[in-house]
């Protein structure tokens, strides 16, 4: 499930073209954003909570090696096995090795953006292992052979009728059925069988607590728990940034996470894993995959504060209208656009430009990542590293020259206004100028303000 490269504007254009679907997608996500607003309004210390969450994360990042070691030590003391992976490949190899050790062939997996980032599923499938995504949304996209389009709402781009068709084909539901209750129930029955038959369970990690060595996984469906508790082996995969210092810190993060993500006060299940159950194995895989590099980039390091709530996607006016798949990256939306270039600048050079820099993402972020500022900074960085298109570079250079000189500026301004007056069709019509495809240009005035101002001043003097 990888993306064929298609730059954001092109992919987004395809998505926008279906106006009715685009509007529906926008409304669905706006609905979640509005729910988030309503519930956040009921928390009187909301802004203080955000400050606290941000401060805890900032502190943790500045002491990350110490906390990770503490976490590891505690986890081992509780009978958990800890593994470290430098990159996606090593992560996948570790998981495969663990599964092979116990001969596990059937795996259930709950939502983990890290395993998406590492493309774990295709890797395991190549090695003859069946992986079933058990989160309903993830199961839907898995059956469609698509990546999730949203980190919290993986199937937000799919309509219930399409789910109905899909389930009819794969789960044998009635043809034409599209009632969410009915379809969810069918998935429940289908996945119960998978849970009961699974040899091993893979989950993500929302928070790993250094002081105890425990970790917390949050779901609404209960799929992480059913998987982990019923299988003989539980593998939990986490990025290095998931660690927090203390159990008490969970009070802050769990108050923010679900409210920001879906507008719920808390997820249905907040499961705290500490030790393997009797007769079972528990493993934690701690993954870098570019995160230590991001830690070293001063302008971008605080993106590692992210708790993957997805609020920035729900609020992003661009994401809502371009859809998650137009970002050609496992994590879409504003946060994805600042994380992705860290891993591969060339591949993701277009993503930081998929924004109007409206700043809504930064204001909604529960851990106060300055997302829109980082988008701006990535633009500078990518240009400096030579990833800007040549034509754009030339145009910008010219513009810089003109605007540096009042004379050239006045001259060009006059010329531009004249040209527009003489050849309005040039810029208004046709596909040559994307401004004019669906928009008129302003009426061109006779005089610029400075010309008017000069005229006024000389009239005053001559009076």
């Amino acid at each position: 499930m990888s993306f064929t490269h298609h730059s954001h504007p092109d992919a987004a254009k395809d998505f926008v073209q279906n106006t009715e679907r685009m509007k529906w997608h926008d409304e669905a996500l706006w609905f979640v954003r509005a729910k988030r607003d309503r519930i956040a309004h009921t928390v009187p210390d909301w802004e203080e909570l955000r400050n606290q969450a941000s401060a805890i994360k900032q502190h943790t990042l500045s002491n990350l090696d110490v906390y990770l070691q503490q976490f590891e030590e505690q986890a081992i003391a509780h009978g958990v096995q800890v593994h470290w992976a430098a990159d996606a490949r090593e992560h996948n190899e570790i998981v495969l090795k663990l599964l092979n050790q116990v001969g596990a062939k059937k795996i259930v997996k709950s939502k983990s953006m890290l395993t998406e980032e590492c493309h774990l599923n295709p890797w395991l499938e190549q090695h003859g292992i069946e992986v079933v995504d058990t989160d309903l949304g993830e199961r839907i996209v898995q059956l469609r052979k698509e990546p999730p389009s949203h980190i919290v709402l993986p199937a937000i781009h799919i309509k219930k009728e399409e789910v109905g068709e899909l389930f009819h084909e794969f789960l044998g539901t009635e043809e034409g059925a599209s009632d969410p209750q009915y379809l969810t129930n069918a998935a429940r029955e289908h996945l119960r069988q998978k849970f009961l038959a699974a040899d091993a369970a893979i989950t993500g990690v929302n928070f790993a607590i250094a002081e105890t060595g425990g970790f917390v996984v949050c779901t609404n469906e209960g799929n992480a728990d059913l998987g982990a508790h019923l299988a003989k082996m539980h593998i939990a995969c986490m990025g290095i940034e998931k660690v927090i210092p203390k159990t008490a810190d969970l009070g802050v993060f769990l108050r923010l996470l679900a409210r920001s993500a879906t507008g719920q006060a808390i997820t249905t299940y907040s499961s705290h894993f500490l030790k393997p159950a009797q007769g079972t194995e528990m493993h934690i895989v701690i993954v870098d995959n570019g995160r230590t590099t991001q830690l070293g980039r001063e302008a971008f390091r605080n993106s590692l504060k992210c708790i993957r709530c997805g609020a920035c996607m729900n609020t992003c006016p661009v994401y809502r209208r371009s859809g998650g798949h137009s970002y050609h990256n496992a994590v879409a939306g504003p946060i994805g656009a600042i994380l992705a270039p860290n891993i591969d600048m060339k591949e993701y050079a277009d993503l930081p430009f998929a924004s109007t820099l409206c700043g809504s993402c930064s204001d909604v972020c529960p851990v106060k990542i300055d997302i829109h500022n980082q988008l701006y900074q990535w633009r500078q960085e990518l240009t400096r590293e030579g990833y800007a298109p040549a034509g754009k570079k030339m145009a910008m250079k010219m513009m810089g020259n003109v605007l540096a000189s009042p004379k050239k500026y006045s001259f060009s301004g006059k010329l531009a206004r004249k040209l527009l007056k003489w050849f309005p069709k040039l810029s208004v019509n046709g596909r040559l100028n994307p401004w004019g495809r669906q928009r008129d240009l302003p009426d061109v005035p006779e005089q610029s303000f400075r010309e008017w101002y000069q005229q006024q001043s000389s009239q005053k003097q001559s009076r």
Partner: protein, 245 residues
């Protein structure tokens, strides 16, 4: 009090009436305004496009033009925010720093510096206020809908002083219009979709006039309005506050 008027380049060239209204408004409020004649642009178009490095000489010109004033006032939240956040000049960083601290968007200059509580202005019509993002969230001209703060809006506060203005409520009060500088051409499809959502919101709520603190957002939305021949007039907030209908 020496006050300089900073007129964004596209306002200078395409919307001189907005700068004239700003000048009249300030003059009527007893402020003596100067227009530094050699000003060009704040450099935002290059910088937001990823070419901050090409703004050096543009910035230097800005500093030369605007140093020495007590206040620099502009009818644009976006350009003011850019100056506040990104104006630097390695040949005269002290002056650049001072300018960053002294630059004001028109509305905040009226409410925070002049402390205007009364405008002798009239305007009849149902007005929708577009809260440009850079003003709203960047300069905090109002409480952004994402933040859990007591409600305030400096532009709204001023509009309410104008006799006859009827403010229409919006479904998504501070949603971005999709202008976004070069974004409006590089991501034309999404940009237009965003703009159209705004227009639907205005129409659903019966707005006759669209106003805002940024002519750039308004230019984009006006472009759509004109192409679709919608019955909405577009005016910069300075024009309404100046009462020049």
């Amino acid at each position: 009090m020496r006050v300089a008027l900073f007129v964004p380049c596209y306002v200078d060239q395409f919307y001189p009436k907005v700068a004239i209204a700003t000048l009249h408004l300030l003059t009527r409020l007893g402020v003596e305004v100067e227009f530094p004649a050699g000003q060009t642009c704040c450099g935002q178009p290059m910088a937001n496009g990823g070419f901050e490095d090409y703004t050096k000489r543009c910035n230097r010109n800005f500093v030369q033009q605007f140093q020495g004033y007590d206040y620099i006032v502009s009818p644009s939240g976006s350009c003011v925010l850019h100056v506040k956040d990104h104006l630097h000049d390695d040949t005269n960083e002290t002056a650049a720093t001072t300018i960053r601290q002294r630059v004001y968007e028109l509305c905040e200059f009226l409410t925070d510096v002049l402390k205007v509580d009364n405008l002798d202005a009239r305007f009849k019509g149902k007005v929708a206020l577009h809260q440009g993002c850079h003003g709203q969230r960047g300069l905090q001209l109002g409480s952004p809908s994402e933040r859990m703060l007591p409600f305030f809006s400096k532009p709204l506060q001023l509009l309410q002083m104008v006799q006859g203005v009827e403010i229409v409520p919006l479904n998504r009060g501070d949603e971005c219009c999709g202008f976004g500088g070069t974004f409006c051409v590089t991501e034309e499809a999404v940009s237009v979709a965003m703009g159209n959502s705004k227009l639907n919101d205005y129409r659903q709520n019966g707005a006759e006039v669209l106003t805002g603190t940024d002519m750039s957002c308004l230019m984009h939305q006006e472009g759509l309005i004109k192409r679709q021949q919608l019955p909405i007039r577009v005016m910069h907030i300075a024009e309404i506050l100046a009462g020049t209908t």
